[in-house]
């Protein structure tokens, strides 16, 4: 999600206007938690575009709890800012955080356990999504906001032109890549990019990997597990034989390759239409979306790439009010509609995935009217994932080691071992208990 949002941010540059502070004199009701007397003021650090407008909806209905949205930064930068603010006990009441950042925030003692306040919210999300907010404990550290179920995107016109069929398994995917190379040596099915570890994490998740887990009183790191190794060997092999490209994504060269049809497919997530709109504007209406290829025929699983949640901080003086807002924001139909409309997010709440706001396919995929119906089907098959307290270190190791291996086209086995070792070494160095 973050990529789409980063891009949108740059494009829209929405003002951080607080909107009409809707403290109109319409009586006293609305504050459903009576613990706080008088109007409560909450600050919310988020980067989703249009979040201030969604907060306005809330402010109009709840004069007792006023939420102010501040755009401080996005993604990983925001995590750093929040941790710094929390050290000075100046963290905002609410924060937007990507799922993989939650353990980092929790181990820095930034996030409050809101399991007592979120009520029956759990039932409104796919289990694989909800479980990311608990870290596998009894606590609840956030309410899921958006998710990024992964899919396979391909140029329908070029697939027909080269006589290719849409791969349903990864074996077929490899055969398709080779067939294309034979027919058009200057083209590639796709690229293996080392500049966004989220993609690789999602692919590993689909194969059944759980990179971090809590094992009693210890962290267990399983990045170099059989499932991830299968994924790494598969892509390493394709890169080594030259069946797919090895250049990173999100570069001018990558945009051009997508726009001119030099690369004719992209393993991505539900937010891809937004990215393709800016990266490959000339190819509008030529793409199609299909489920991710599977490891065994007939299986039905996908990973997730991106997605974020709303969390309450320990510095908040009004945790109950903040948790109520977080729940409303991510489960109330009106709020979710506004989030989709204003922020262009793909909601994590299952009911909203087939809601009115997503009835129409994205403009870029007008040729696939049932885009969001299929997306909702795919989202249900999202495999669970779990994150640890040093995802940032693992991701940096991925970038450097897989980047070097992709450059050398030498297979990814050693890079994966290196990623595991770097992650474990960092945890131990920090003082975490690590299970062997």
């Amino acid at each position: 999600m973050s990529h789409l949002l980063h891009r949108r941010l740059a494009a829209t540059a929405t003002a951080v206007a607080l909107g009409a502070s809707a403290l109109t004199a319409c009586g006293s009701s609305g504050g459903d938690r009576a613990a706080d007397s008088g109007p409560v003021s909450l600050t919310y650090w988020a980067w989703a575009p249009g979040m201030d407008k969604v907060a306005d909806l809330w402010n109009k209905k709840n004069p007792d709890i006023k939420v102010t949205v501040r755009k401080q930064a996005s993604g990983d930068d925001l995590v750093t800012k929040i941790i710094t603010a929390a050290k000075a006990h100046q963290a905002p009441d609410l924060v937007q955080a990507e799922y993989q950042a939650l353990p980092t925030l929790v181990t820095n003692d930034v996030l409050a356990d809101i399991s007592g306040e979120v009520g029956d919210a759990k039932g409104k999300f796919a289990p694989g999504v909800w479980q990311q907010t608990t870290l596998g404990t009894d606590a609840v550290y956030a309410v899921p906001q958006d998710s990024g179920p992964m899919m396979f995107y391909y140029r329908a016109d070029l697939f027909t032109q080269y006589g290719l069929t849409v791969p349903t398994t990864w074996d077929e995917f490899a055969r398709t890549a080779r067939a294309l190379k034979k027919k058009a040596p200057d083209k590639a099915l796709t690229t293996f990019s080392s500049n966004d570890a989220g993609l690789f994490a999602g692919l590993a998740q689909q194969a059944g990997a759980r990179w971090w887990a809590i094992d009693g009183e210890k962290w267990k790191v399983a990045i170099d597990d059989p499932a991830t190794r299968k994924v790494a060997d598969f892509w390493g092999g394709l890169v080594a034989e030259g069946a797919v490209d090895n250049q990173p994504m999100y570069t001018p060269a990558w945009n051009k390759a997508l726009n001119t049809g030099k690369q004719i497919a992209w393993v991505s997530a539900v937010w891809a239409p937004g990215t393709l709109t800016t990266a490959a504007p000339d190819t509008k209406g030529k793409w199609a979306m299909a489920p991710l290829p599977q490891w065994t025929k007939g299986q039905n699983a996908t990973g997730s790439w991106g997605g974020s949640s709303t969390a309450v901080t320990n510095d908040s003086d009004h945790k109950a009010a903040a948790a109520t807002f977080a729940t409303w924001l991510n489960t109330d139909p009106e709020a979710l509609n506004a989030l989709v409309r204003e922020g262009g997010i793909y909601p994590a709440a299952t009911t909203a995935q087939t809601g009115d706001a997503l009835a129409k396919a994205p403009d870029f995929f007008a040729n696939q009217p049932d885009f969001y119906t299929r997306a909702a089907e795919i989202a249900k098959t999202t495999a669970p994932s779990s994150w640890g307290p040093n995802v940032n270190v693992a991701y940096a190791a991925f970038k450097d080691r897989f980047g070097a291996a992709a450059k050398a086209r030498s297979g990814f086995g050693a890079a994966l071992t290196g990623m595991q070792d770097a992650t474990v070494a960092d945890l131990k160095k920090q003082g975490f208990e690590v299970a062997p």
């Binding site: 990983d76 930068d77 750093t80 941790i83 980092t104 929790v106 181990t107 820095n108 003692d109 870290l135 404990t137 080392s194 500049n195 809590i214 009183e217 210890k218 962290w219 090895n246 250049q247 990173p248 999100y250 570069t251 001018p252 060269a253 051009k256 390759a257 030099k262 307290p389 040093n390 940032n392 270190v393 940096a396 970038k399 450097d400 980047g403 070097a404 992709a406 450059k407 960092d426 920090q430 003082g431 975490f432 208990e433």
Partner: protein, 313 residues
């Protein structure tokens, strides 16, 4: 009574005169302490501490700042990746500094020669890249280096020639050095040129009367006389090279060839803002500052003793 009074007044004036220098110094000392000594002291303090986590690291009190002694320094000095980064930067500097200063000297001498035309236009044209921010320059060159969008690669492709991968391996050093040379030559040229203009005309006249050719004047008169400004530009260039950060950081997303720890400063940034380990970052920063200090002043001393020798000869 009057004498007493006068004596007291005289004493007061004497006291005032004595205190005056401190009064004048105070603003500078306060500013120095607040914005220089204090931050450095704080960095040193941070570098001697670390975060210790107990158990799973969840909940209150699981994360504590404790005394680390020289642990962070040991880690920094034994870090192989930092060593590789330092070597990469030295290799990069070995290209940048001589090429940039050589070109700057050459351009300055050419501009200073008598028969030059369009002097002020050329001076501006050479200086202009310096006015372009480093990040913009790196982006600009990055686009020119990327095979799929580069006009050079397009032209080579048309001619049927293979285009080199400029963002990888050995050529990557040349590509990065090129950005620095392109951006920095103008500034250094201006420094050297200014010092050339201040050489009195009689010196040239004397040389000409002795029958020296323009080339001989340049080599035997001009270069020795601008040696101090050459030393100065060399000093600046070495420091700038050791601090290289924005160019590789800007090129990083474009290629697999630049890692997140390509230069030592990138490692400091990564430690502080990606890994959230401000203590390790402080230790590395202190080591880097010390190394830069030793290296640049060592080279300066060496250069100064050389020029001093030249003068006595």
């Amino acid at each position: 009574m009057t004498t007493n009074h006068r004596a007291a007044r005289r004493r007061g004036t004497a006291y005032g005169v004595k205190a005056a220098p401190y009064g004048f110094l105070a603003p500078a000392v306060v500013l120095f302490a607040l914005f220089f000594a204090l931050p450095i002291g704080y960095a040193l303090w941070l570098s001697l501490r670390k975060i210790e986590i107990s158990g799973l690291g969840l909940g209150k009190g699981a994360r504590q700042e404790v005394w680390a002694g020289l642990e962070n320094y040991t880690a920094t000095l034994t870090d192989a990746e930092l060593g590789h980064g330092a070597l990469r930067v030295l290799g990069y500097g070995a290209i940048v500094v001589p090429v940039m200063l050589g070109l700057a000297l050459l351009f300055a001498l050419l501009l200073d020669s008598e028969r030059v035309r369009a002097r002020s236009f050329s001076r501006l044209a050479i200086f202009l890249p310096y006015a372009i921010p480093g990040v913009i320059a790196a982006l600009l060159w990055g686009f020119l280096y990327l095979p799929d969008v580069s006009p050079f690669h397009y032209a080579l492709d048309r001619l049927g020639l293979p285009g080199p991968d400029l963002l990888d391996g050995g050529p990557l050093f040349l590509s990065l050095a090129n950005i620095a040379v392109w951006g920095g030559t103008g500034f250094n040229m201006i420094v050297i040129y200014t010092s050339l203009r201040s050489i009195p005309a009689e010196v040239y006249e004397a040389a000409k009367l002795d029958g020296a050719s323009p080339l001989q004047i340049a080599l035997r008169v001009k270069i020795p006389m601008v040696a101090p400004s050459l030393v100065l530009t060399f000093f600046f260039s070495v420091i700038a090279t050791l601090q290289v950060f924005s160019e590789p950081t800007t090129l990083k997303p474009l290629t697999n060839g630049v890692s997140t720890t390509w230069s030592p400063l990138m490692k400091v940034y990564n430690d502080a803002f990606v890994n959230g380990n401000i203590h390790a970052a402080s230790a590395t920063a202190v080591v880097l500052a010390a190394a830069t200090f030793v290296l640049s002043f060592g080279l300066l001393r060496l250069a100064n003793s050389r020029t001093a020798q030249g003068e006595t000869r």
